[in-house]
């Protein structure tokens, strides 16, 4: 038998206490690691709601506002920009592609986005994933609509259903509805975990078509409506759009293009780099992040203090055992080493069980989080912070155990071998 076997046998002997301690450390570790993974995922989901886009351009407004209504479905655009200017920028040599957005209509609380097929071709989110249609196809006719995953799920729409858009409202019903020109669902998108799931997409021409007979933002009077059959495609050239996404051919051109758009004399425009604005926005939420982290660190400390307490009580029970080891020639430091080794085994086991528990939990709950909360667990499964937490647990656990060990060293010196209780 070796010293290591002795320590392992001693751990096994106190199986119940050992397991309880292990369990409490594992619980706090799992909590800490899960919070960290969720925090990381939320951040990634948030800052990468749109990816691969270099600039978002719209009428001059706050840069945060522009990003919020273009990417997150939050708030309203105060102004539109002219379609001519959009075309001018689109046709610049340094521009690779663009995605125009025209907002303003809604359906049962969901936002309607008018765009073109470039949206399906180029729009990317989270690590350059493309939009996928899981049912049907993209729009081809004026009155075709493609639904985000959540819209289809919540409103129970299927391909082929007819729906009516309402004017100017994205929340709730509006009395000004486009009921004379219903849309047909032609496609449903795969869940993305972004605002796209809560939007529906029509063509720019479709958006023009339902407003063709409107004058200065009001529905046409009776008898002056234009029938669907009378609409011709040349009537449907958009006058304006809300904003558009730009991808440049080379990253170097982004800043120059941004400046030139912002300095355009013909129209007051704003161009922002979405990644920058999103990170800034996330930074401003860092208080919440900090509180989350603080709570989980406190939980871990409580777990380690729990270990310390159970160590103290186990050492008390083990004074007899220690006296026996001392009587046959074990030095104080040998005894301390045995105890320290036991603590180490306990901590390493906790770290391993905790990590595997976390992984299993994420495997089981991952799909649910995705479906119910639209939260995609980001990769990798372990971050550097996780590694820090795990090694920190071992290191701090060992430091925490030094206290009790020193106390008992001192006490056992005084006790001698007779264990004065």
């Amino acid at each position: 038998m070796t010293m290591i076997q002795l320590a392992l046998k001693s751990l096994r002997h106190r199986m119940f206490a050992t397991t309880a301690t292990l369990f409490s450390i594992v619980l706090s570790l799992v909590l800490l690691l899960s919070i960290e993974r969720i925090r990381r995922s939320v951040e990634e989901n948030f800052t990468q709601t749109v990816s691969g886009v270099d600039l978002i351009v719209g009428a001059r407004t706050g840069s945060l506002q522009l990003v919020l209504y273009s990417v997150f479905n939050i708030g309203q655009a105060t102004n539109n920009m002219s379609y001519d200017n959009y075309n001018k920028i689109k046709n610049r040599p340094e521009v690779e592609w663009t995605i125009p957005y025209s907002l303003g209509d809604g359906h049962k609380g969901y936002r309607v986005v008018a765009t073109n097929n470039d949206f399906f071709k180029y729009y990317q989110f989270r690590n350059h994933q493309n939009i996928e249609i899981i049912e049907g196809q993209t729009f081809s006719g004026f009155f075709d609509v493609v639904l985000g995953a959540e819209v289809a799920r919540v409103l129970k729409y299927a391909v082929g259903d007819k729906i009516v858009l309402v004017h100017g409202s994205t929340t709730g019903d509006s009395f000004q509805s486009h009921d004379d020109k219903p849309f047909k669902v032609v496609g449903i998108m795969k869940p993305t975990g972004t605002a796209i799931d809560r939007s529906m997409y029509v063509s720019l021409e479709g958006m023009e078509a339902i407003h063709i007979d409107w004058k200065s933002g009001a529905a046409p009077e009776k008898g002056r409506e234009i029938k669907i059959d009378d609409i011709k495609s040349e009537m449907l050239v958009p006058q304006s759009i809300t904003s558009f996404f730009v991808k440049t051919k080379s990253k170097i051109q982004i800043l120059k293009l941004q400046r030139e758009i912002t300095e355009d004399d013909t129209e007051a425009l704003l161009a922002v780099i979405p990644g920058v604005v999103l990170s800034e926005l996330w930074q401003s939420l860092s208080q919440i992040e900090f509180v989350l982290k603080l709570i989980s660190v406190l939980v871990l400390i409580v777990g380690l203090i729990g270990m310390m307490i159970s160590l103290v009580s186990s050492m008390n029970e083990r004074r007899r055992e220690i006296a026996i080891l001392r009587s046959i020639g074990a030095t104080q430091s040998t005894v301390s080493k045995i105890v320290l080794f036991e603590v180490m085994v306990l901590l390493l086991a906790s770290v391993m069980v905790g990590s595997s528990f976390k992984l299993i939990l994420e495997l089981i709950l991952g799909p649910w989080l995705q479906k119910k909360w639209g939260l995609f667990l980001s990769s990798p499964m372990f971050s550097t912070i996780d590694i820090l937490v795990l090694s920190g647990t071992v290191i701090f656990g060992l430091i925490f155990s030094i206290g009790p060990i020193l106390i008992f060293r001192k006490r056992s010196l005084k006790d001698g071998l007779s264990v004065k209780l």
Binding site: S10, I324, A330, S333, G416, L417
Partner: protein
């Protein structure tokens, strides 16, 4: 020949306060091979003396010659080392690590010293102490009598020069006590060790070569609590 010579030994748990001394022994010797019965009322410092001789407690002052070594000059680690090679210790009770087998308990000392185990002697010990059948049982499943015999085997296995026993028979009934003592005497003779046996049970004192009443040597035992 003296195995242990104690001169002017002073010990108090509160370092050095003259009036709080537990031990104050000017001269006490133990000869090689003798078996000594050390007795005295509780609180007279018997266990404390044993623990100093075991090198677990450190005297405040005085000299101890131990097998020709200046024991009082050794530091704690050296004393631990010395104990692991030269001293067998038997407690009153609870001598064993409960989660180890009889065999593991007996051979435990070799974890802490450089000596090699003498397998034939191990088998002899098992034989003579009647532990053969329970060799692989866990210590926690043994009777008190069995436990004390295992403890004796563990104290003897390193063939120590000195065996210190702190009331090892107090948990045994009279029949077992005498049997146990005879076994001990047998083994002690075989390995030619000196036995220092602390007890307050004078019914067994006649079995020993020499009887020492500690209070006759310990001047500190006149401290008030020893009158209680």
């Amino acid at each position: 020949m003296n195995v242990i010579s104690i001169r002017d030994l002073k010990f108090g748990y509160d370092q050095g306060h003259q009036n709080q001394l537990v031990l104050n022994i000017s001269e006490l010797d133990f000869a090689k091979g003798e078996s000594v019965f050390l007795f005295g009322s509780s609180g007279s410092g018997k266990t404390t003396l044993l623990e100093i001789l075991a090198g677990v407690l450190k005297e405040n002052s005085g000299t101890i010659q131990y097998l020709k070594n200046d024991f009082h000059l050794l530091n704690q680690i050296q004393r631990d080392q010395f104990r692991s090679e030269n001293i067998g210790y038997i407690f009153q009770q609870f001598n064993l690590i409960p989660y180890l087998t009889v065999k593991e308990n007996i051979q435990l000392p070799f974890l802490f010293n450089q000596k090699k185990i003498d397998e034939t002697f191990y088998l002899t010990l098992l034989q003579e102490l009647g532990l053969k059948k329970i060799e692989n049982q866990l210590a926690q499943n043994l009777s008190v009598g069995q436990q004390q015999r295992v403890a004796a085997a563990r104290a003897m296995i390193i063939k120590p020069q000195v065996i210190l026993a702190d009331e090892p028979t107090s948990a045994l009934d009279y029949d077992h006590r005498e049997k146990f003592l005879n076994l001990i005497f047998d083994l002690v003779r075989q390995i030619q060790a000196t036995l220092i046996f602390v007890s307050h049970d004078r019914s067994i004192m006649h079995l020993f070569n020499r009887q020492i009443e500690l209070s006759q040597f310990n001047k500190a035992s006149l401290a008030p609590e020893s009158f209680l």
